[in-house]
Each structure stands twice: as structure tokens, then as C-alpha cells.
Amino acid sequence: MPGPVVVDAADDVSLRTVERTDLDFLHRWQNHPTVRRWMPRSHPVRRPRLVEEFEGWLSDREDGLQALVCLDSKPDGEGVGTDDGNESDAADESAMTPVGFVSLFDEHPVDRSAVVSAWVVPRARGRGVASAAIDSLLAHAFDERNLEKLVAGAIATNEPSQATLEGAGFEQEARVRERYFVDGEFVDRIEYGLLADAWRTRNGGAE
């Protein structure tokens, strides 16, 4: 079950710490074709490796931030529900349903730069969930971690992710040609960047 909120919720979307009980969710979706094809990720992730990662960098306070994207489930079962067999307990005041994962990593202490990435499960797409999650992550990155520059990427065929990044204020900076091999052919990666000044101008400063 996801841990406490790490960034203030936007609407019903919150970012929460990854706890050991959330590994089933990550294990399932990191391997699922509908998620990994967009990363893209071509290697399976077996449970021991995921546990090793969890005990290593996922639990390392010095290394960026990793968080679950969670949706508020209504106590009477409305809302999202889950598809991993764990129905929200109607007795919980608010059950959090993990629907995705965000990561802030490769923090460079001198340049105050970092990379951001995010994914959400298919049924949570097209509803602004990823956008809300990224907005929360950016606020954390710029206002709490005092980063000056963030970069993100999307494979050239991933238009929804590009739209999400552009909607969050990222600008296209480079076309990394033939960066990935997907479905039997080379695909470009679009690199995006966002500077703290630009983000602040857009967001009117810290809330």
C-alpha cells in the first residue's frame, strides 16, 4: 500500500512514497507491454532485481525521488478500483490506488540538473492524471530540491507523452536520432528541457 503523500495532491492525484507492499504493482506494470513499450524497456524485470532496486536506490534519500502516482478511491467503491485484486476497503477513509510511477533521477549536484520520467497504467491515461503527477513532481523539483534544469524524453512515436511534457512547460531541445530500436526499427528520442526560471514564470512562483 502506498505510503504517505510526498507532494501536495492536485485534485485527486497524489504522489506517495513507494513501500514494500507496492512492489507487486511495480513488478506487474514495469513488465507489462503497454507500459514498457513507451519507456522503452526491452528487458524483463524479475522480482529479485526489483527488490534489490527497491532496497538500493528506491530507498536512498540521496538519489532523487521515486513515487507512486495515486488516485483517491471513493470509500463506496466508485472511482478507479484496482485490477490487481486488491479492492479498496470500504471502511478506509480514503484508499489510495496506485496508477503510475514518477522518478526524478541523475541529479547533478554542481549543475543542479536532473532527469524526470513518468508512466501511468493504460486505464488512467487520457484523463490528465500524468499531467497532474508531473506538475506535482516539478513543484517538488524546483521548489524543494532547488533544481535549476530538468530534462525529460519521449520516443518520437509517443505523442501523448510529448503532449503531456509540452503541456507542463517543457520545450523540445534535441532530436536524438535512432536512439531506440522498437518494433524492429530505429526510432528517434525527443529530448525536452525545462529551466526553473521558465517554470516559475509560468506557475507564478511557489505556492
Binding site: S42, H43, V110, D111, R112, S113, E148, K149, V151, E171, Q172, E173, A174, R175, V176, R177, E178, R179, Y180, F181, F186, E191, G193, L195
Partner: protein, 206 residues
Amino acid sequence: MPGPLFATGDPVSLHTVEEDDLSFVQRGWTDPSLRRPLSIERPMNREALSSFLETVDDSAGVKLLTCVDKEDAADERGSAGDDEQSPDDAVSVGTVSLFDVVPESGVGSIAYWIAPEFQGSGFGRAAVRRLLTYAFDERRLNRVRADVLAGNDASVALLERLGFVHEGVNRGQKQRAGQRVDTNVFGLLAHEWREAEDRPTDGGVN
């Protein structure tokens, strides 16, 4: 003293980096004129450098010493030799590196430097060219990337001369002297490399 010969790319040769070469490599990583374009903010002592070089052996990348014949080195330095250099024929002039290799994607990045007293003679270009042959023809990469700090015109010229394409600018990616500084993204694809190599060249490689 340079390690054993690994590849030749006239007028340079690429050698393995061994313990005896640490002082020379350390120079490249501490000399401000070299370490700043390379974005090495923390100069390393030899122990740290030795540990770092072990990680290069573990990873998919390579780091090689760029060397020239003693005669070619003497032409550049105006002296017949240097007490700190090898008594052998090969004189170290810089290094080249292939790193961040992702085999399933066929991509890798490169970095390189030439000591100031040996710059301006095409040694850097020859060394990178030989590294590219290694990357494309031995490591079967499809794509090589190089990131260059804004203002490093000599490096940009070297890459463009080898056929690299400017793919974009990571704006304000670095911070230097209180200012955000851009880095330039360059990429070269295997088929571009091969088409360029098929044209008449000015030097042989093996």
C-alpha cells in the same frame, strides 16, 4: 608508459590505459583548460582515478590512451623527449572514451581530449576517427553521441569534420561562474559514417 597497442589510426595509435599512465591521465582531468570542457568538476588524486578506471573495465565502455610516435611528438613539443614520458616510441598525447553503451539500442557516447602542447595537429580528429571505426565496425553500434559545452568551438569543428550532425541544444544544462551554460548534442549514425568513409580519405586505418 602507454599500455599495449590496441588500434592504429595514422598518425595516432590507441593503447590501453595502465597504472603507469595514471599521472598523464590525471593531468587531463585536473588541468583547468582540459577538465572544464570535459565537465570534470572534482579533480581526482591518483587513488580515486585508479578506482574510477577499474569501473571503466567493468562497464561496456572503453577508455584508450591516444599516442603518437616519438618523432611526431617531438615536432609538436620542439624537444627530443621528456623525462616523464616513456622511453619507448609511443608518446601519450590524450585519451578517447566510449561510454554509456546500450547494446540493444546500439548507442554509445564519446569523449576525448588532447594535451595543449599537442593540439592543432589533427591528433584529436585521428583518434576520434579511429574510435568511431571501433564503435561502428567492432562494437556494432548504430549511433554515437557527443555532448559539447557551448563555446568549445574546436571540439565542434572536430565533430562536424567527422560528419556528426548537430541534433539540438540542452539549454542551461550546466552552471559555470554563476551562469547557466548550454550543451550541444551531436549524433552520428552508422550509415552516415560508412557513406563518409567510402569517400576518398586522407589517411588509412587498421
